[in-house]
């Protein structure tokens, strides 16, 4: 269980130590390697600005949402670049034509919400409930994101 009964005055230093690495992975999947650090630092800045006013019971979820929200803020101006960055992530050892190019493009073309859910379901193996808490949405919304992500990913098969 990741819920906490009441808000805790936790230091940003501790939060960074506990969560920065996993948030960096999440942010990289969201926006690609170039902007990941900016997104994560922004998320912590957002936490520092609002923690005393917000009824925060789950700082991990708070940080994940802050990352997602920051990515949405920047989406308009940077989405194309993120899609290019994500599609271009290919192991450097590969010297042949990338056989996964279509799948990479399909993953890169997902919306932020869809890519978040795909990451949590298929990489982190999180339950629907945990994903709903982290993203601050209902299980139904998680299912909708996943269904649409899957619909979009299937095109890689065709």
């Amino acid at each position: 269980m990741i819920e906490i009964e009441q808000s805790l005055p936790m230091s940003l230093e501790t939060l960074w130590r506990d969560y920065a690495d996993q948030l960096m992975r999440f942010a990289t999947v969201l926006v690609g390697p170039s902007d990941a650090a900016d997104i994560v630092v922004d998320a912590f800045m957002a936490v520092s600005r609002t923690a005393t006013d917000a009824f925060v019971v789950n700082e991990r979820a708070y940080l994940y949402r802050a990352c997602t929200n920051r990515a949405h803020d920047l989406r308009r101006s940077r989405e194309r670049r993120w899609a290019r960055d994500l599609a271009a992530v290919v192991p450097s050892s590969s010297e042949q034509l990338d056989p996964l190019v279509d799948v990479r493009r399909a993953v890169a073309a997902l919306s932020l919400g869809q890519r978040s859910v795909v990451y949590f379901v298929y990489w982190e193996d999180l339950t629907e409930r945990s994903i709903a808490e982290l993203l601050g949405v209902s299980p139904g919304t998680v299912r909708r994101h996943l269904a649409r992500a899957q619909a979009n990913l299937r095109k890689a098969l065709t």
């Binding site: 939060l15 990941a36 650090a37 900016d38 993120w82 992530v89 919306s111 379901v121 601050g136």
Partner: protein, 518 residues
């Protein structure tokens, strides 16, 4: 093929995760500036500079993103302008609303028309949340979504939400004709419930609505602190003034992987029945659950009649003096279609023989409609591996195929016969997203996947066996279909006009209204 996709998606995620840059040095490391930057305090440039003294680039990057007072003031100004523009728009709209022209079309030349939304009721604003700069939740994640529509006292009531997820506000729209809609101001009950959100951080979504003719019942999600999410019900006798039920639907069990979820609610001769699912102890799977209410004010568990785990009720329909339930039995990815009936208003249920494909396909009944040629049930059939990881998450579907299946009953649901739906299944994945039975037969909205990213096809049938395509905007999607005296009312999801190439199918999202004249 499925194994390949599973492996490929994993590999792509693995490659992306492997490309994660090194985590920057901890900019909040405690030294002299520790107190200043602790949780709950706004960091200053000085404190961040102190902690980043050895990393000049990171410092510059961090300082660049510190809050900008001018930017915030600009946003506030923008918010005022937006409000003024909205008020002005509304004034214009009041006159314009009566000018909507819906011309009946010939029955053989049916075509959809998109209804105007002059009041801007269903248009997502990409700026609403930005006004609230200063919270970590501020974002552009706005959306307007109609979840369900029901006829009520000669008019129509639609329920849904404005906003997104736990920042949303439950919303109700009313209409006398299904064409001109209004949103009333009496919806404070759907906003932030004080007992759940003392800091006004959390919101509400309405998902389902039903009426017995006199009373409306709505069921939705209330976001709180602990538990994060609960189910709640409201009732109303006019569609405008709503009262929240004091009953707690389902206690959130901390050891269960799934939240309780309500999939629908119906009116019966003795009250209301809500149906949905809850997590199974010690398992990542879910099982069906029912709740009953006499008048919508209080609810209690009524699951006893449904025996066994892995029972999934997709819907219930009153048929004569009994209830017909439908769904599936079996684990989420290996279920088998099933009908049940109850003659005591849901207190107990018995199964009805349900024909299913014998080729190992996994089936489920999704909806039942009454038509001039009997009861018609539509569902889906899955073939192949539905999960790419076997993880405990939601029903993971990446592989296999998905087809529409159909049953018809001419004796009020006592016996069912399978129907050939070959003509409906033209892509790898065909799913019905909405359906209604009305003056011109049954209208189905079908999502077809196989092209990029999906297309919507609307089909009509007058006998349940032959289908005719009705032209519709293939890039739109219908979420609900409701029959009216004059035709069919559809509500759909639409993305904002500024949608970029890398499509964002969810946010911000508006609702579009459609009408298919009889």
């Amino acid at each position: 093929m499925n194994d390949n996709l599973q492996r490929d998606v994993h590999q792509v995620l693995a490659d992306i995760v492997a490309s994660t840059p090194s985590t920057p040095l901890n900019p909040f490391v405690a030294e002299s500036a520790a107190d200043e930057v602790s949780w709950g305090r706004r960091p200053t440039v000085a404190s961040v500079r102190a902690s980043l003294a050895t990393d000049a680039d990171a410092f510059e990057a961090t300082v660049r993103e510190l809050p900008r007072p001018h930017g915030r003031r600009w946003l506030s100004t923008a918010a005022v302008l937006i409000v003024l523009a909205a008020v002005a728009g509304l004034a214009i709209v009041v006159a314009a609303r009566r000018t909507i022209d819906v011309r009946p079309a010939g029955s053989m030349q049916q075509s959809w028309m998109r209804l105007a939304d002059p009041a801007g009721l269903f248009i997502a604003s990409d700026h609403v949340d930005r006004v609230e700069v200063g919270t970590a939740y501020s974002s552009s994640n706005s959306a307007v979504r109609i979840a369900e529509v029901t006829p009520f006292q000669g008019g129509y009531v639609a329920v849904g939400a404005t906003g997104y997820g736990f920042r949303s506000t439950g919303s109700v729209w009313t209409s006398a004709d299904g064409i001109s809609w209004s949103a009333d101001d009496q919806q404070a009950n759907f906003g932030v419930p004080a007992e759940a959100a003392p800091r006004a951080t959390y919101g509400t979504e309405l998902e389902h609505v039903a009426t017995n003719g006199q009373r409306l019942v709505a069921i939705g999600n209330v976001y709180g602190s602990n538990p994060f999410y609960t189910l709640a019900a409201w009732w109303s006798d006019d569609g405008v003034h709503w009262t929240k039920s004091a009953s707690r639907f389902e206690r959130v069990q901390p050891d269960r992987a799934s939240y309780p979820n309500v999939d629908g609610v119906i009116a019966t001769s003795s009250g209301f029945i809500a149906f949905g699912e809850i997590g199974i102890d010690g398992s990542n799977d879910t099982t069906g659950r029912m709740w009953v209410s006499g008048d919508g004010t209080t609810w209690k568990d009524a699951t006893e009649g449904l025996v066994g785990d892995h029972v999934r009720v997709a819907g219930i329909r009153a048929v004569g003096d009994r209830l017909l339930a439908f769904g599936s039995v079996g684990p989420s990815d290996r279920g088998r279609a099933q009908f049940w009936q109850s003659t005591d208003d849901g207190a107990s249920w018995t199964t009805i023989d349900t024909p299913s494909p014998t080729d190992g396909t996994h089936t489920a009944v999704g909806r039942v409609l009454r038509s001039s040629f009997g009861l018609v049930a539509f569902g889906d059939a899955h073939e192949g591996d539905r999960s790419i990881t076997g993880n405990p998450g939601p029903t993971a579907v990446l592989g296999g195929t998905e087809d529409i299946v159909e049953w018809i009953s001419t004796d009020d649901g006592n016996t069912w016969q399978g129907v050939d739906t070959t003509s409906l299944n033209t892509a790898d994945f065909d799913t019905i997203t909405a359906a209604a039975s009305g003056p011109n037969g049954i209208v189905l909205s079908i999502r077809r996947v196989g092209s990029v990213p999906f297309t919507t096809v609307v089909e009509r049938t007058a006998d349940g066996r032959h289908f005719q395509v009705i032209p519709f905007d293939a890039e739109q999607e219908l979420d609900t279909l409701t029959s009216t005296d004059q035709g069919y009312l559809g509500t759909g999801s639409s993305n904002p006009p500024e949608k970029t190439e890398a499509a964002d199918w969810e946010k911000p999202q508006s609702t579009s209204l459609w009408f298919l004249p009889a």
